[in-house]
């Protein structure tokens, strides 16, 4: 290997254009396109009794107005159920435009196409839709009570019910010396990329083809979905994800109603829209018509021994999936499997109910169900430690899977339908690093010092394991051009992760070329048609290995051709900075650019370089110019398809200060130890961790979706949804472990989601430690903490057994023996 880009904090290729205003995001395209706007339901649940577009059609500049009645063929069918699952017994997906009924505020009802967006919105405002409101099901308690149904043919509101179990959990818990029960709650947040969704489609009447640009995490699958809906051959549809202004999960869902509607209208109105049709989501639309995540209620029953070792863990989860289930039940599956983290649970049973509500759909948001699972497990770990009077880190350590037990089979089925088998990891080492980084053992002294100064501080920790790099596959194409430039393509898309940089680092190393000579294209079906998408922290693992494999093929071919030209054995050759040379005799050399020329036997010398490859210049006349099993060109493609996910892990510790008067929570220190295997680019990995942690802090302390009982989202703007600014986000201190994965050629694991996963768990742990009473519900606002203090003082909220501050814990029982207290229902506050 002639260069060493892998592992270097290389500055990003993307930045040159993104820093100068030369990026091209969806709304930067199609300046002469017509604009679409949507009339959306103002009701959470209603029947649509009439739609009157008369006044709207009179607006100057309006080109067309569509309702469900206008949709034909497969456009009139419900949108696809992307990920079916046997446990999803009552799946429901929306129609592209409402068919007689709306199930959440924001559901599209009418599409208006006009000369520009202003006029389209003028017209949309003049559409009169008559609704007969129906009772709205909002929140998990309402969904569980089933007093009203979201979908009349699903009277219990249960979309899915799944139980996974390992061992005999009831027996294990009954025999356990200690038993605790916890009721937990996590509220909704959302991906909230700075760029909303958007789609721009242009029908080419001359070719009978469609080009779709969309701000997506899955362009190949949008292409397939649009082709299917429109009844077009796949080869007549291109789909391109241009620069995408953040995704975080919400843009993996597809096809969105707008994606198929804009494409369909572009074809149908081709004569009136030669430059195509574009829709750009506005911020309000993003809040009410994209997707949310996180909302769950959980009940945990755990049996454990006097060292805190888990003997049996029984978890029930009620998951709010919103109005429809287009993305299946991936989120609760991940919660129920990744809940186990780095631990051996003894016997384990997890049961979940995925429930319909008249709210925005719930699909993966960075972390994708893991933050909830980690919340359940880590709250349980803290409860066990407090119950036994043990150190919280010690209780975790006693439950760890040991490094020498890897690979470790948890006995469950993961989100990819494959066994949940951890491939590698050294959890004890991770914890040691974290304790050193945060100063775990010194905290009591710090607490005393702070207390003396009238300050209230607490420390918390949380651990997680993250399945990354899920299949089924990704591919890569690597081509050396006759200029010496190396063009790389992979089908998955980018939303800021720096794929153009890290994939170029990998190819530069594999091929022996300069990093700056490698140009990477992602998410463009014209360049690479086979892909799955960017989610589940999979891009580096999947496409990284795929382009490495493709580059290795190219390297082999280059060495073979160069060997013939230099009359040397390929095994005696090396490639350094784009030049193939004989090892130890660098004067005997040929540039890759020339090898590229030689790889393509030519008849026509269209430029100087091509002369070298023309028929009178090269070739053994006894052989065909292109051998039977060969192809012209110095290029190759290959695919990486693993048998299972690779499991990264990490642990976070946080020190918080809670204001004794205002109950404001301030994060004083946020420490992360992260193990995603060898780092391709530490600068980029740390950036991913920073961003993830910020979303974790946001979800713990600031963000929630506030629905009223009628299903109105009360905070659907950046004024009211408290997405943090720099003033709210702490500095993140990071240390790494690099435990390689045995599963893939590069030994890497995914890193994209990690930072967000333990956010609510670790901050709850620290607040609990500072306050001395149990925290069972996140996020937590200052006013909620203030009220909890009052409830605690009134004896309505259980305190911790360990003392915190100068408080007397009403539940502390001096001299109490923990050995005769089973079962002990540690049930939490339910008052809010």
């Amino acid at each position: 290997m002639s260069t060493a880009m892998f592992g270097a904090p290389v500055r990003r290729h993307e930045d040159a254009r993104l820093l100068t205003g030369a990026g091209r995001y969806l709304d930067d395209l199609g300046h002469r396109a017509l604009a679409a706007a949507f009339v959306r339901s103002p009701h959470a649940h209603a029947r649509v009794s009439d739609i009157d577009v008369t006044a709207a059609a009179e607006v100057d500049g309006v080109v067309a107005i569509f309702t469900y009645e206008d949709l034909t063929g497969r456009m009139a069918e419900p949108l696809p159920l992307l990920i079916p699952h046997p446990a999803l017994h009552a799946p429901r997906t929306a129609y592209p435009l409402a068919r007689g009924e709306v199930n959440h505020v924001g559901e599209p009802v009418v599409m208006v196409v006009a000369r520009d967006r202003y006029l389209a919105e003028d017209a949309a405002a003049r559409v009169v839709v008559s609704y007969d409101p129906l009772p709205a099901v909002v929140g998990l308690p309402a969904a569980r009570s089933a007093r009203h149904a979201v979908h009349p043919d699903v009277p219990d509101n249960v979309a899915a019910h799944l139980v996974q179990a390992v061992g005999e959990v009831d027996t294990a818990i009954a025999a356990a010396p200690h038993v605790l029960e916890l009721d937990l709650e996590i509220e909704r947040s959302a991906s909230t990329p700075l760029e909303g969704k958007g789609v721009y489609a242009r029908w080419n009447s001359d070719e009978g083809s469609l080009r779709v640009y969309t701000s997506t995490q899955a362009s190949t699958s949008v292409r397939a979905a649009v082709a299917a809906k429109l009844g077009l051959p796949l080869v007549k549809v291109d789909c391109i994800a241009p620069d995408v202004g953040g995704g975080f999960g919400v843009k993996i869902v597809h096809p969105w109603p707008e994606e198929v509607l804009v494409a369909w209208a572009a074809q149908r109105l081709a004569a009136l829209a030669p430059e195509g049709i574009k829709w750009t989501e506005d911020r309000w639309e993003h809040f009410v018509s994209s997707a949310h995540e996180r909302g769950q209620l959980q009940h945990v029953r755990v049996g454990f021994d006097s060292d805190g070792r888990l003997l049996g863990l029984d978890v029930t989860i009620w998951h709010d999936n919103g109005a429809y289930t287009p993305y299946g039940i991936i989120v609760p599956i991940i919660t129920s499997t990744q809940l186990l983290g780095p631990y051996k649970p003894g016997a384990y049973r997890c049961e979940f109910f995925s429930l319909y509500t008249n709210t925005v759909i719930v699909t993966p948001y960075r972390g994708a169900g893991r933050p909830q699972g980690v919340f359940a497990m880590e709250r349980t770990m803290d409860a066990i430690a407090d119950h036994l009077g043990l150190d919280r880190a010690e209780v975790r350590a006693v439950n760890f899977i040991a490094a020498e037990e890897m690979p470790y089979d948890q006995g469950l089925i993961f989100q990819d339908g494959r066994p949940l088998i951890y491939d590698s990891g050294d959890f004890a080492a991770t914890l040691d690093k974290l304790k050193a980084l945060v100063g775990w053992s010194d905290f009591q002294a710090y607490r005393e010092q702070a207390r003396a100064a009238g300050r209230r501080v607490g420390i918390g920790l949380a651990c997680y394991v993250e399945g990354t790099g899920v299949g089924p596959y990704e591919g890569g194409h690597v081509q050396v051009e006759t200029s010496g430039k190396v063009m790389v393509a992979t089908g998955l898309t980018s939303q800021g992760q720096g794929h153009q940089t890290v994939l170029a680092q990998i190819v530069a190393d594999e091929l022996g070329v300069d990093f700056d000579d490698v140009e990477v294209t992602t998410g463009d079906t014209r360049r690479f048609g086979y892909a799955v998408g960017t989610f589940a922290s999979r891009a580096a693992v999947m496409s990284g290995n795929a382009v490495a494999l493709a580059a290795r093929k190219v390297r082999q071919k280059a060495l073979r051709i160069a060997g013939e030209a230099l009359e040397a054995d390929p095994s005696d050759l090396e490639i350094v900075s784009g030049v193939v040379r004989v090892k130890g005799a660098p004067a005997s050399a040929i540039p890759l650019s020339t090898v590229a020329v030689l790889s393509n036997p030519l008849r026509y010398a269209f430029d100087e370089a091509a002369k070298a490859a023309t028929q009178f210049a090269v070739g053994d006349t006894s052989k065909p110019p292109v051998a039977e099993d060969d192809e012209p060109g110095l290029e190759a493609r290959d695919f990486y398809s693993p048998t299972q996910s690779t499991f990264a892990n990490g642990m976070h510790a946080v020190i918080v200060e809670t204001d004794p008067d205002t109950a404001e929570v301030r994060v004083l220190r946020y420490c992360v130890v992260h193990d995603c295997g060898p780092l391709i680019n530490p600068m980029i990995v740390e950036g991913q961790v920073h961003g993830g942690v910020a979303q974790g802090v946001a979800g713990a302390l600031y963000e929630r979706m506030v629905y009223d009982d009628a299903g109105q989202l009360l905070n659907a703007s950046f004024m009211d949804f408290l997405m943090p600014y720099a003033s709210e986000i702490p500095t993140v201190e990071i240390d790494h472990l690099e435990t390689p994965s045995p599963l893939n050629p590069l030994g890497i694991k995914g890193a994209g989601e990690a930072g967000v996963i333990p956010g609510s768990a670790v901050i709850a742990s620290a607040i609990e430690d500072a306050e001395g009473f149990v925290i069972r519900r996140m996020p937590i606002s200052p006013s909620e903490l203030f009220e909890l203090r009052a409830s605690y003082a009134a004896g309505r909220v259980p305190g911790l057994r360990r003392t915190s501050g100068e408080r007397t814990d009403p539940r502390t029982r001096p001299g109490h023996s923990p050995d005769n207290d089973s079962p002990d229902n540690d049930s939490p506050d339910k008052e809010t």
């Binding site: 500055r11 990003r12 993307e14 930045d15 993104l18 820093l19 100068t20 205003g21 030369a22 990026g23 995001y25 709304d27 300046h31 577009v53 059609a57 607006v59 100057d60 500049g61 309006v62 080109v63 067309a64 107005i65 569509f66 206008d70 000369r115 202003y118 003028d122 990329p193 700075l194 760029e195 620069d243 202004g245 953040g246 109105l269 004569a271 009136l272 506005d282 911020r283 939303q495 800021g496 720096g498 600068m683 980029i684 740390e686 950036g687 920073h690 961003g691 993830g692 942690v693 910020a694 979303q695 703007s717 950046f718 004024m719 997405m723 600014y725 720099a726 003033s727 993140v732 930072g755």
Partner: protein, 179 residues
């Protein structure tokens, strides 16, 4: 579907829409154009002048992605009507680099310190930082944090943006010494 009968679309504003002729001076170049009076400055820059470096993240003035400099001061172009800035100097992200393509010290600093990921909020942060460093060339970390706390970023967690602002101050000071 109710499609309009006419086969061609009239160019320009809709019938009855009030318009006004204005000069938008963007990055030192004047553009004379007739705009509907309700056209947002952000839309005029992006869609009438096709300078798409200015991004729109919320259209209600909170996220700061659309920040441009108006007579040197940072403003939210999504909260300003284009016709209200007739003749005033507007600087967008396209106007930061030198004519030879050399990056502005603030751009350079964001590149060095990995101050951007998806890049959507970045133009707003760049222009906010340019204006801030003109007034506060040697900021403390707290001043820098305060200065960028009116712009939203969803990717970076702000840590590297803060580092970029401080680095930009260093680079700018270095350039002045050289000059």
């Amino acid at each position: 579907m109710r499609a309009q009968a006419d086969d061609g679309l009239p160019a320009g504003p809709a019938a009855g829409e009030q318009t006004r002729e204005v000069t938008l001076r963007v990055n030192g170049v004047g553009h004379r154009l007739r705009l509907p009076v309700r056209r947002l400055l952000s839309d005029a820059l992006r869609h009438d002048l096709e300078r798409t470096g200015t991004h729109v993240g919320c259209e209600h003035g909170v996220c700061g992605a659309c920040t441009v400099l108006l007579e040197g001061r940072p403003v939210r172009s999504c909260l300003i009507l284009a016709v209200s800035v007739d003749g005033q100097d507007i600087t967008t992200v396209e106007g930061l680099a030198a004519p030879d393509g050399g990056l502005h010290p603030v751009q350079q600093a964001f590149r060095e310190r990995h101050g951007l990921q998806c890049g959507f909020c970045t133009p707003g942060f760049l222009l906010t930082t340019v204006a801030f460093l003109r007034e506060t060339p040697q900021p403390s970390e707290e001043q820098a944090r305060e200065a960028i706390s009116g712009n939203l970023c969803r990717c970076t967690g702000y840590q590297n943006i803060l580092a970029s602002v401080l680095r930009a101050a260093e680079l700018s000071a270095g350039r002045e010494e050289q000059a």
